[in-house]
Point group: C2
Chain length 177, copies 2
DNA sequence: CAGTATCCTGTCCGATACTG
DNA sequence: CAGTATCGGACAGGATACTG
């Protein structure tokens, strides 16, 4: 899937994936969340080729996921810092780690989320900020917003008909969206 | 990054990315979460080439993310259903959508998470299941677990020294992990 | 409909060498 | 250290045609 195509998509998930739907990017963010900031730290921790890392870091800076900050003038040295934008991805990456521990690891976990105040291992869940309720399928759903395009609306309608049991003719959304 | 390499990695995030660190996979899951189940539904909704979709669906079934269920015998027809494993990714994908709405969309949101009981738009946050506290950086952190390998431990130690101000020699972890 | 089979192209990536 | 430059191979992805 082309990155640029995703970035222009109408669905917010698709657009997000255009920015962070790449394994290297997420691996770099993982390291940044744990405190790494420098080129060779990322390179060795991720075990990524320097040219690839260079390209990725530039893209991420360009997308506002990292900030390139000089911390030494002679010789010139930079570090890559998280931004507010990428900082907000931290819970998502943590959730992915927890999911991986449950489903992709055999035996004991290799990394785990803890409450540093108590040392207790933490189970993270997503909740409605207002009510504190977990985001169950029956109650919480994505629906087309005010700016939704034709494809999004069509899909939502189609699914409602499908759920109602009237499996409709077939899925034939209007042109591009 | 090779998928197989990620799947064998020691870090749970890397392993998760080996399964779902691909844009098409996440796009298909997005559609599955919203209720689509059939080949042509995915194909048209994602606008993905049929051969690619076919490959992806097989991989996902092989990885336990989807289940292929026959719902009609003549002619033979199948649908792809979410599993428990992939169902647990739903909050993560929702969180990604919310992040995308905040940071990757200009103007009004195209899709939004609502409480279907009230119609109110929902802000989703990750919390500690026990305490209900949001996962702030200062209090909640990933640490090496009982089965952590050498690289994971080295990185964690290195970062602690780095945080303590004693920026140590440099990042040179032990060999593979 | 629900896919499979081919072919072709782009590009992502890894390896390596080089530089201020 | 913190990158850049170059090169070749593997593979993902798009288009298209075909089938039960």
């Amino acid at each position: 899937m082309k990155n640029e195509a995703l970035l222009k998509a109408s669905c917010p998930i698709a657009r997000s994936l255009g920015l962070v739907g790449d394994s290297w990017t997420l691996m770099i963010l993982r390291d940044a969340f744990s405190g790494l900031t420098r080129f060779d730290e990322f390179q060795k921790s991720c075990n990524i080729a320097p040219n690839i890392l260079s390209r990725r870091l530039k893209e991420m800076v360009g997308h506002g996921l990292l900030e390139r900050v000089s911390y030494c003038s002679a010789p010139p040295r930079h570090e890559y810092r998280l931004t507010d934008k990428s900082g907000e991805l931290r819970p998502i990456v943590l959730a992915l780690a927890a999911w991986g521990n449950r489903h992709c690891v055999d035996g004991q976990p290799k990394m785990q989320l803890v409450d540093t105040l108590t040392g207790r291992e933490v189970t993270a869940i997503m909740v409605d900020k207002e009510t504190g309720q977990p985001l169950t399928v029956d109650r919480y759903q994505m629906v087309p917003g005010p700016a939704a395009g034709a494809l999004l609306r069509y899909r939502h309608d189609y699914i409602r008909r499908k759920r109602a049991g009237q499996t409709p003719t077939r899925f034939s959304p209007p042109g591009a969206d």
